[in-house]
Amino acid sequence: MNRHFDRDIEQLKELLLRMGAMVEDSINQSIRALLERDTAIAEQVIAADSDIDRMELEIDQHTIELIAKMQPAAVDLRFVATAMKINPELERIADLAQDVCERAIELNREAQLKPLIDIPRLARAAQEMVRQSLDAFVRGDAALARAVIARDDEVDQMTEDSFRELLTYMLEDSAYISRAIRLTFVGKYFERIADGATNICEMVVYLVEGKVIKHAGNVGEVR
């Protein structure tokens, strides 16, 4: 049976995907701004963030209206709950991309410290995780979501590797410190973007299977 509720759900999904696309774009552009040392692109990303903020508010509004009017249950309830949690997660990811751009602008004011190796890999990995997490959400693909979650450790490792390398620069010459710290931050930002993707994927598993896998092992089985 077709429910007009389904149209509302579809609409909410579409809004989230548009938001996801905007966020992905921000990540892509932030990586370009960083690697191509392009201040103009970085400024565009920062400017675009207010659109994403507006989008977040719009999705929030839509979700709350859905709850008020439809009182969703079961899979609908899980979908709405997922939407409510994915939405700020995406917004936070966009903020992190904005932070990357701010650091990029600062880095662009000085000479390049070193050819970037670990950070681009890290950035690509985080970017891919975000894309896949959104794919998993759209398709309701719990297996893909679990695969994305599994990559988080790999990203953590890359962040650690990049930090160690940057640390050697800082130890070598104190003139490198400010740039190395900025690059360390950038690494951390991408790591947290990947964390965001992981959170989204945990919600996708809940949405599809009804199982809470978040904090598994820390608090024991939650019903």
Partner: protein, 275 residues
């Protein structure tokens, strides 16, 4: 205070999330392989269900799914229908109420019933509540007074009715009439209360009062409620059983049924995807 009770209530419910057997809560009503027929038409198929003591179990499902028939099987109200026939067992405290030596009249004093449409007798408020007692042979005015007051209090109607116990029950509002019917059922001292869509004919405020009442009554009674209002089932019950086409599709903790039902049919029903 109310909030505290609610939290405790929820925890208690959470404790019984798993099948009732493992929860340690003794099933008050134990249904085994129960079949029911109207003539040659079978309306219930092999229902296996345990209803825990002092909890609210909601029966949900589309019209004609057998949930009302099932409810009426618990106090054998279906007996009056010609050609009605039951197979299997429904036990209360371990005693099969379809055994040949069961006194149906005595059974109905242990299993009270509240109907969809409030149906007070065209008598005074007092006489409505005292009806079951008088049938049971109680004549002592003091005893009658006491039980009538206690029942009205339990049904949250005392404050509204105490000054007009001698007035006709038909002068009460719809919601008050339904609470009167609950008081009337409570007066005979049942352990189990069956409710057949008790609030479906009431406005939201009266409905809310009935729901609050059900919530309080479950501390002392085992309640089985049939409802078409999904939100109501979610709000008042500890456990929910979903029936379809005469079969019990799924039963479980209400939270689980409404957030993560196991069966696709249940999910389709509670999300309104039924064709």
């Amino acid at each position: 205070m109310a909030t505290m009770e609610f939290v405790q209530g929820t925890r208690a419910a959470a404790g019984s999330a798993q099948p009732a057997v493992s929860s340690g809560v003794r099933p008050k009503i134990d249904v085994k392989k129960f079949n029911f027929f109207y003539g040659s038409a079978q309306v219930l198929y092999e229902v296996d269900l345990e209803l825990p003591e002092k909890q609210v179990t909601a029966l949900i499902g589309p019209s004609g799914c057998g949930k009302s028939t099932f409810l009426r099987s618990i106090n054998r109200m279906n007996d009056t229908i010609p050609g009605a026939r039951a197979e299997g067992t429904i036990s209360i405290d371990g005693r099969d109420l379809y055994a040949p030596d069961v006194d149906v009249v005595a059974l109905r004093r242990r299993v009270g019933m509240v109907f969809q449409k409030s149906n007070p007798f065209p008598k005074t408020i007092f006489e409505n509540v005292a009806y079951g007692l008088r049938i049971g042979g109680i004549k002592d005015k003091r005893v009658l007074d006491e039980i009538v007051e206690q029942s009205l209090r339990r049904a949250a109607l005392w404050d509204e009715a105490k000054d007009r116990l001698g007035a006709s029950a038909l002068a009460l509002s719809g919601g008050q009439q339904q609470r009167l019917c609950i008081a009337r059922a409570l007066a005979v001292g049942p352990e189990i209360l069956l409710m057949d869509e008790p609030a479906s004919a009431l406005d939201p405020i009266a409905t809310q009062k009935i729901e609050e009442l059900i919530y309080e009554l479950k501390d002392n009674f085992t309640i089985v409620i049939v409802t078409h209002n999904m939100q109501q089932a979610a709000r008042v019950s500890n456990r929910t059983a979903f029936f379809m086409l005469g079969k019990l599709v799924e039963v479980g903790d209400t939270n689980a049924i409404f957030m993560t039902p196991k069966e696709k049919l249940t999910e389709d029903y509670i999300t309104g995807r039924f064709g």
